[in-house]
Subunit: 209 residues, 2 copies
């Protein structure tokens, strides 16, 4: 399975995965595409198409085996490939992400946090230590970490990014509301929370009236 | 401007908006599409197309007026329309979002937080009070809040969602890793953080090798 999946397909597959996890927890063996479609308020045809992309065919009138489909999604999205990452910035958002146990299920190994505040350095959050930012280059090499999850305040975002790049970080998951200026070989994923939600409010005309 | 903009266009427009905010702070008057494209590692043609959708034309060799383009994006994405929202769940993520001042610039008015933990109730986070979850129906009516930002632990997500709907909430920005089961008239935006990032790692083959 080496074809490139579109962003939207990957996004939906992870939602199907959440649903399957629930089903399996509840010991429900089979799931049908209309059941998935209804939970996500999407079209049934869409769900069937996405799952067909994985090369999996359900049984007529019974649907898909929840466990098999879950494993197939995990293989397709490489959940078993360990992706070592650092959280840079141990504020509320950094701490929330450090406590987010789901990361591991997806193959993300958050091996440490970094901050420059003396009160935070040395703390442990969900068994992950907060280190002095200065130690990042050494620890990036030691742990083989190439991914940084950036949760520093806006004012430090660019400066810290340049330091991360010098330290060998190649992939930055940017939670700051800044657009970072980086060389083209560095991959940035702008989380852009507000942009995501605006997609929703703009097209649904959410307002106070 | 009543045409429906695609999710991707809206997402990029908010990123352009961040860049323009930086430019204006730095008192740079003009910005060109190649400058935007370079910062975002996207194609220049794409940027020009997006901006043309807004009906704005830059000046040859000078580019766009940063201030005008910023205002135009704000109008298009309805930043000035106040969208009253509650944060439900005052854990780390809820607190991080409550402290995120940028929401206001985008028209989101986070008027209160809710939790059921006695230690949290009554606290103020960024001048927003944490109320007992039981008070939500009354306050939703009082403030005219129709949006809830859901940041409760996974185990309570479905139960709290049902309570929100009974309280008149119509739009749920779901940060929990659960797919919520809601009636079709309720709008759910699944933030699905990990799904977003996986789009990035799957197609770039990020791994530890």
């Amino acid at each position: 399975m080496n074809k490139i999946l579109s962003d939207k397909v990957i996004n939906r597959l992870t939602l199907y995965h959440s649903i399957l996890t629930d089903y399996i927890e509840k010991k429900i063996e089979y799931i049908s595409s209309p059941q998935i479609a209804e939970l996500l308020h999407v079209d049934n045809t869409q769900v069937r198409k996405d799952i067909a992309l994985l090369g999996y065919k359900g049984k007529c009138k019974v649907g898909y085996k929840a466990y098999d489909l879950k494993v197939l999604i995990e293989e397709t999205l490489k959940f078993k490939t360990v992706k070592t990452a650092f959280i840079v910035g141990a504020g509320n958002l950094g701490m929330a992400l450090a406590k987010y146990d789901n990361f591991e299920a997806y193959g993300f190994n958050i091996s440490a946090l970094f901050d420059n505040s003396p009160e935070k350095i040395g703390q442990k959050i969900n068994e992950k230590e907060v280190f002095n930012l200065k130690e990042l280059p050494r620890l990036a090499e030691k742990f083989g970490a190439k991914i940084a999850i950036l949760t520093v305040p806006r004012a430090y975002a660019q400066e810290v990014t340049e330091f991360l790049i010098k330290s060998g970080i190649q992939y930055i998951w940017n939670f700051t509301p800044c657009v970072l200026n980086v060389p083209s070989e560095i991959q940035i994923w702008n989380e852009n929370l507000i942009g995501n939600f605006l997609q929703f409010t703009v097209n649904h005309s959410v307002n106070d009236n």
